[in-house]
Amino acid sequence: MAALTTDSAKTDPLIRITDLTFIYPGSVKPVLRQLNLDFHQGERVGIMAPNGSGKTTLFYLLMGLLKPDSGTIEIFGKPVRSEKEFENIRKRIGMLFQDSDDQLFSPTVLEDVAFGPLNLGKKPAEAKLIARDTLNQLGLEGFENRVTHKLSGGEKRLVSLATVLAMEPEVLLLDEPSNGLDEETKTRLITHLSDLDLSYMIISHDHDFLYELAQSNYTMKNGQLEPMERMHIHYHSHPHTSHRH
């Protein structure tokens, strides 16, 4: 145990969750029960678990959108509790929402991508530049003046990713990023995400997607995270004829 402590002291986790418990108001059963997690720099973690098991809740707690009933969340080595502390955290952790329509609220793509940088205090010209760079990085050149609600589902997802990346986060929380995407867009998303020099956690039901992107995988049982075997993850219920692994 002593060895373990010295070992983890070398690389302090980016996120350390200790005994986190959360009960939705009006419910008796906790969604998260004494959940623990150490998440280190450079890690790419997948979380695959049934609906309603508390995956999104975990993300919301990490971002300070929900308040835990007990337990502590330490991010970048400091415990975070108050809204003020979370405001600082949000500049460094980006979260991609399940529904892109929730994320893209500006009329045009450029405005939406520039929204984060402007809030961080960048000048309009600078914010525009960052927004353009981020869009180009994701292969979305020429999307600047497109109207957000007229984008296709796949385009919306990529632009949403751009809005998060434009804030230059160190960690990404991705909530079912491949949901509802066709194979081509999914491949594009996989390419872009694996090229990023970032740590991230992905919630997904998509075996292939996690297989490509996550180094380790968790499932959730009784409100806790449990490691999954790699082999286990890549179990397929459908026959493969079109592609190799």
Partner: protein, 251 residues
């Protein structure tokens, strides 16, 4: 469901003008038109509005279509007001009295409303809603109202799509709207569900905005320097407005 902005994109002299003076003139011009009482200044205002529509090179068919909607309301006024606004009798039609002040009043309402609609079509509808939002922000309209306008514009489509989805789901389960309690109840559920969904979505949008550092401030990327100088337009519009007011006072 769709909101079309047929006039928003163009390269007429008016489209290229700075949006700020356009909005200011549109508000001034329509307010003045609304309070005019004399016919000569009213006709002058109408002529000015026509001229602006012509300068903005708007598609006359679409302009006509938009005026038709107004026409329905005006028809109601022409049917009712000449019969009820008592004064000098013009003629008797069957057993109905038709009064002169009623006709004059209806005519004024007609000219005023058509003029105001044309002003807004030529000066305000010639910019995208987004630009309008940023312009109002620059003109010091409260941030909350600007957000309300822009976010309504953005989510009207989303809520519209939700409505269509719910409607389809009802249809494929055999729902047909009729005049009975079941129909009323179902429609009430549909509307209620739309409100529930809209408020849940509003909550999520708000969360997503907070995660990106939103603190209630509105930052605009709009670069108003890119527009053509609007000196001539302001001089022209303001001097005509003064002329209209002088006419109103003199007569």
């Amino acid at each position: 469901m769709n909101i079309t902005e047929p006039f928003a994109i163009g390269n007429s002299g008016i489209h290229l003008l700075d949006p700020r003076p356009r909005v200011v003139i549109a508000v001034l011009f329509s307010t003045i038109t609304a309070v005019l009482q004399q016919f000569p200044p009213l006709f002058l205002a109408f002529a000015l509005a026509l001229f602006l529509v012509f300068r903005a090179r708007l598609n006359p068919v679409i302009v006509g279509k938009r005026l038709t909607i107004l026409g329905l309301f005006l028809t109601m006024i022409w049917l009712l007001v000449p019969l009820t606004f008592e004064g000098e009798l013009v003629t008797r039609f069957w057993k109905l009295n038709i009064y002169l002040p009623g006709i004059v009043y209806s005519a004024k309402i007609t000219i005023k409303s058509v003029t105001i609609l044309l002003i807004f079509m030529s000066l305000v509808a010639t910019m995208p809603i987004t630009t309008l939002g940023h312009t109002l922000h620059r003109l010091r309209l409260p941030e909350k109202l600007v957000f309300l306008l822009l976010i309504t514009y953005r989510y009207l489509f989303v809520i519209g799509e939700e409505y269509v989805r719910l409607r389809t789901a009802m249809k494929i389960r055999g729902f047909k709207s009729g005049t009975n309690l079941h129909s009323f109840k179902t429609t009430a559920y549909l509307i209620g569900m739309l409100f529930v969904r809209a408020s849940v979505r509003a909550e999520r949008v708000n969360q997503a905005m907070r995660l990106r550092g939103f603190n209630g401030h509105f930052y605009s990327l709009e670069d108003f320097a890119a527009y053509r100088s609007s000196g001539w337009f302001l001089t022209f519009a303001l001097s005509l407005l003064i002329l209209i007011l002088v006419l109103e006072w003199l007569l």
